[in-house]
Symmetry: D2
Subunit: 144 residues, 4 copies
């Protein structure tokens, strides 16, 4: 399985604030965009997961701001599976600007819940096909 | 029935853009906040309407920007029922700053849809109790 | 001068609301994304305009919602210069989904202001090079 | 000096996502709202600080989600100075729902920068009056 090449996007005008930079809250949304694109890359889209009756809430998110990003800049968001246990899924993010300078570091922690009863799901038990996709990617892509 | 006294809120930092003013898209959200507060004022909350299986989508929205609003300014959003027919509900909005200067004008047009089948609902027929609330307010509060 | 081919993007998860569709306020932001991409297409980027001391505020915006858009859908935003006078610039937008169905119609009206004193600028007089770009595009691309 | 009584606000419709809950990115914005209200409470508004040529960027933010918040719920955001050194200012946040249940925990780390040259500022040296406000509050309000 190939390594995810990262998700690229441009900083929007409406994402700036009066400091003249991208408002810090937007990076949390960029992490989500990268996550969604990563799941597409795995051929296990968020839509597929939701249609299987599973929601993947965010339990925790962290963002560390190294450098400012400005309107119009193109950034690349690299994403790594930090931990996958079958019941928990943790991501790490690195955002780079067009000069390949690390501008933001992030983490997000997730679990799997049944849409029906909001209970924790073990993907390993309930959806072994989904489980294998995450497990395979995690195995074959050692952390940077 | 009393006239709605308007909805008051402060402009947030994250709502600014690099022009140093509130980004124009946020006013559309402020209209919604005023609408939700107006429904609470009528004792017919949006939650009540949704729990009755009705959704109230926006068909059209317009915003005209007269004056800029800046971070930290307190604004009052006045809301008027422009038209109510039992199947359609149109609002008009006027946003005033702390000097009572008109800063923004808006309009939004809505219908009522069944959550179940996404079909148009006549509130007049299906929910006469809800209908009476809107009709009464519209009748007793002539347009400015 | 070629006709702008439209701006393509995907609907993000964070742009949905509890109705299960893209929240109506986000289309106003998508119009802006299309505008910014259009200026890049003209080789007259928003950054270039701002660096010349000009801001291009939104005077009015309208959005008409025909069909819902859902998370993950790819949309194309076509943009037309509706009016250009040297002092005023009005755009029209048409958003199409992946089935080429018209989902949203929009308009935005703009003027040019001096960053320094917030006064109206005639691009025709003050920045004839910028003026020519808009005039040429408007001339060569008659309205649909 | 009195203890900050917390910042109260309602969850907006446009802050929900298709999971039917408040999207996780919005809490980062609520932390900012609480911060701005806290500075007002200290009579040292963000505007005052910015007008003195100081910006207070976010270096790091964390949010831990314990319970979901839904549209229309009123939440109270308690804020604590976790660390204040004259050059660094760290906050901790606790968000409670109307049943006084802890729903979200957060942290944000900040520094002070000169608007002019983007260099780090020691508030203690450059603005002893501002310094005293933060120092006094931190001293008199021991951590929970």
């Amino acid at each position: 399985m190939q390594t995810y090449p990262g998700y690229t996007r441009k900083a929007n005008y409406y994402e700036t604030d009066q400091m003249g930079i991208i408002h810090h809250s937007n990076y949390i949304r960029w992490f989500e965009e990268a996550r969604v694109a990563f799941l597409d890359f795995l051929n296990l889209s968020y839509q597929t997961i939701e249609q299987a009756g599973i929601i993947v809430p965010v339990l925790e998110v962290t963002s560390k701001y190294k450098e400012m990003v400005r309107f119009g800049e193109t950034v690349r968001i690299d994403l790594f599976i930090e931990k996958y246990t079958g019941t928990r899924l943790d991501f790490r993010y690195e955002i780079y600007n067009h000069e390949n300078q690390l501008v933001t570091l992030g983490e997000s922690k997730h679990c799997f819940l049944s849409k029906e009863n909001n209970r924790l799901i073990s993907l390993k038990k309930s959806h072994p096909d989904f489980h294998r996709v995450f497990q395979d990617y995690a195995d074959k892509n050692s952390k940077k």
